[in-house]
């Protein structure tokens, strides 16, 4: 039987996904623990990804790389799929707006887990989609298959 997510849990997860941008875009490194588990893994990029292992390593990235030139992030189009192990797969899009007012966009593939403090992101894969060269399509790694609503190979 497929796992079911209650409305209060779904709302709580949407809150954490919304909180991410407020914390990350403002370099509020000390609040990253409200969004991520201590052992979070964050993979950035579609090709050979940049992997951050653990909240401390990711916080260093936020502290050192986030500058006024970075885009703000807006999370939209979130789809939640509860898993049999109690975790939840979230698939969202981000719209990035840079200081010149131009857009970037991409996908976030998240795993959320229930902790004593509430829902937290334990894994995030960040996959840029635009801007990109015309005519090549969006490069998507195989791991994205895990976030398909219907497992690959089934109909």
């Amino acid at each position: 039987m497929a796992a079911v997510l209650s409305p209060p849990d779904a709302l709580a997860i949407h809150e954490i996904l919304a909180l991410f941008a407020h914390v990350f875009d403002n370099n509020e490194v000390e609040d990253l623990g409200l969004v991520f588990t201590a052992d979070v893994q964050v993979d950035v990029g579609a090709g050979p990804s940049q992997i951050y292992q653990g909240l401390t390593e990711f916080a260093d990235f936020v502290r050192n790389v986030k500058t006024a030139a970075a885009p703000d992030h807006h999370t939209v189009n979130t789809s939640l799929t509860p898993q049999d192990d109690g975790s939840v797969h979230a698939r969202s899009r981000y719209i990035g707006i840079n200081p010149e007012g131009r857009l970037t966009s991409g996908e976030w593939l998240d795993v959320l887990v229930r902790t004593p403090q509430g829902w937290r992101i334990s894994y995030r894969r960040s996959l840029p989609r635009t801007p990109r060269p015309a005519g090549i399509g969006v490069p998507t790694p195989r791991t994205a298959d895990l976030w398909q609503a219907t497992p690959v190979g089934e109909s």
Binding site: P8, I13, E15, L19, V76, I95, G101, Q117
Partner: protein
Amino acid sequence: MADSLSVEDVLEIHELLARFGHVFDSRDAAGMTEVMTADGVSEGTIGAGYTVPGMRAIQEFTRRCPPDTPDHNTVGAIVFVDADGVVRARSRYIAPLVDGTVHAGDFFDILVRTPQGWRISYRISVPRRPVLPISPPPPEFFDAWRPRVGDLGVPREATAG
């Protein structure tokens, strides 16, 4: 004062924040009573900043909005009760301009429950992208809109009835 928010409260506040964009962007001055309190205050930080105090001034401000004022599309809303029982929301707006470029920024709100439902009693709007001249309050002013452990991500109770 509010000790906690139910699922219904949070959903109603999300609805309210969305409705604000529709009402204001439609220049629906009468409709502003459905989104802000009678003594509501709306502040902006763009340029030298401005304060619009009270429903009469808010309705006049809404009516007089220039035709090219960008639309307000609200995303990323979080809603929680602070240590003093004040209900606060923090969200972002994405505002498409008439030329197809985009502006975006933060909304910091205080919400109150009235007999007619939830309303915004205070809103301050802070542009973020593109980088524009702004006159915001000092950074510590916004600390009250930073949720603490347990404020978010915790399944909320549905209220009976």
